[in-house]
Amino acid sequence: MNLFKKKIIPEQSTGISFTKKRIRWDDFFAEKIIKGVAFLSIAIIVLIFFFVFRESVPIFTSNSKADKAKADSSKVNIAPVSKTEKQETYGAESNDSSPKQEQYGVTTEDKDQKQEQYGVTTEEPQKQEQYGVQTNDEPKQEQYGVQTAEDTTDKLANKEIKTENPSVETKTEDNNKNALATLKSKDWQPVSDNPRYGILPLLIGTLKVTLISILFAGPLAILAALYTAVFANKRMKEIIKPAIEMLAGFPSVVIGFFALMVIASVLQSVFHYSSRLNAFVGGIAMGLAAIPVIFTIAEDAISSVPKTYYEASLALGANKWQTAFFVMLPAATPGIFAALLLGIGRVFGETMIALMATGNAALMGLNPFESVRTLAATIGAEMAEVVFGDTHYNVLFLIGSMLFIFTFALNAFAEFYVKGHLIKRIQGK
């Protein structure tokens, strides 16, 4: 055996140094930085809460001095401005109170709500599209946020973001009070001489679509999960599980496109309804988006049922399907329930599919074959053409806050419910 010469390996613990605690700066800073960054994730949720709510608050405080101050300062700013009042908008130029031109969604004639026709616009095709919205006869091409030449010099002179002029300013105050009053009404017509912000039709639209999607996706996904978790052999499992989970990789705009192009036509030829894009089509499409969510969680829940349940049932003489339906499925109920809840959450806030497949008309009937407008689609469609600080803007943020609270509560409930039940089961209750 080799005799080792210890001298070659140098003394590395530096003698008796372990008696004094050394400060290791890299270790110290690494820990602080890592902890800090991780903590940020909580901060983000808080920030989202805060900033989304912040923009909806003005509706409730429409009498505040802040509005008065705004009115005052805007007086100062107005002086050098050109004659045509330019407002800062998030998109198209809009003249103050003329009815909006037909956008890719809602027509805003007061009398009747036209449902969206695919592809129809009333503009000439050659117009430069700004921010996705067709703009019509205006003197200048207004881009988002970019002020025209006249305004830029004013911009540099003013320290504040332009707001509307005083006469419109007080209108905003009134608008805010009005908004609060009309929230419960049955009309969603934010862009008109008499704006009404009734959320009810939007809520009903969302509920219709959600219901249809869960009725479609729920049973399908749960049965598929049952098969994968109980009946399938290993090889089938390895094929089916990833295949269904690939559905989660489809961007919702692609599903919306597919719904718009294919599903709408197919279903129309089957059911012969009049409006091509409606809650039913949207619901089925959203169901496609919900399937992977429900499937993954339900499959996980059923697989987590202890194998001993399965074996005990078989040992008592039950066969596979009896075991699956009367033992495994009930045992996995908390998880399956959570799966459905999360599927609902996924659909409730889905925007793109709603924008592309539901018809975008804020109607309130119970007929699944008429067009609807969902909450999320409203935000998505209208935020681009809204004036910053306007009542409409605030109401949209309010809707956003509602969506946020809803999904937050749903998620929290699903978590605690499932945890509660699992703990009960472990404790043997």
Binding site: A30, L47, F51, Y131, K155, L156, M356
Partner: protein
Amino acid sequence: MIKNRKIDIKGFVIEGLTLSSALFIIAIIIFMLVVIINGGKSAFSWEFLSTFPREGMTKGGIFPAIYGTALLVIIMSIAAVPFGTITAIYLTEYAKENSFLSRSIRFAVRTLAVIPSIIFGLFGLGFFIKFVGVKMDNVFLGGALKWGQPNVLWASLTMALLTLPVVIVAVEEALKTIPRELREASLALGATKWQTIRRVVIPGSLSGIMTGTILAVSRGAGEVAPILFTGAAYYLATLPHALSDQFMVLGYHIYVMTTQSANVDQTLPIQFGTTCVLLLLTFTLNIFAIILRYRIRKKKIN
């Protein structure tokens, strides 16, 4: 014995029912793929991928949308991947199990994962654009309007928040496959915690970081709602060359083109083509991620 046969049929039917559900779902997936690829293949050409759209989107290509998408996901990844990796490292290496902080962080991450994507758009607007951007304008530009409006920077940061949970989960999964004994061995040799993380843990988690990045990129390329009003535009004559520019992006392009394009028949092939490109892109990325994830899980079992 006749009785047994009856029950068998019932069982067969039920098992068949569940199997058909699974197969039905897969059939829909395949159908979607086929329809879209079939509709889009006529538009596919090198010109399509490398030139600008012309004549009101009826001719030409979608290069700026591809470019914009790439730009978006690159900036998004630069923001989200380090952030997510560090958070995952905290959760597995530093957090005491069941401490209030670690449970809160996990809850926050799960909440982030279920927030509707449009809310992120609202946050991007209300926070990044109207708060941070405006403040930046006030401080650096004396109030001129540059950062206080939608652009590729804010859109990318917004998207980064959306994909953060994806990165965190993927990295954590990989970190958990590193056995405790390796960390112990390192510490027993006189390494500090940070040295252990740097030399043993992080190298062992690279596969997870890659998986997380790929999944995040796939999400980021496909989501549209967060960028509807934080930076995406339908037609720009030039490519974005600064962080304060707006940009075109595949998903948004599809959305606008299909819902309000004037010449439906003429733009149809381009619509399908663009959708095809986006779908193939996300699909391929997802497959890579699944393979990676499979390998990570296999390693864990061993």
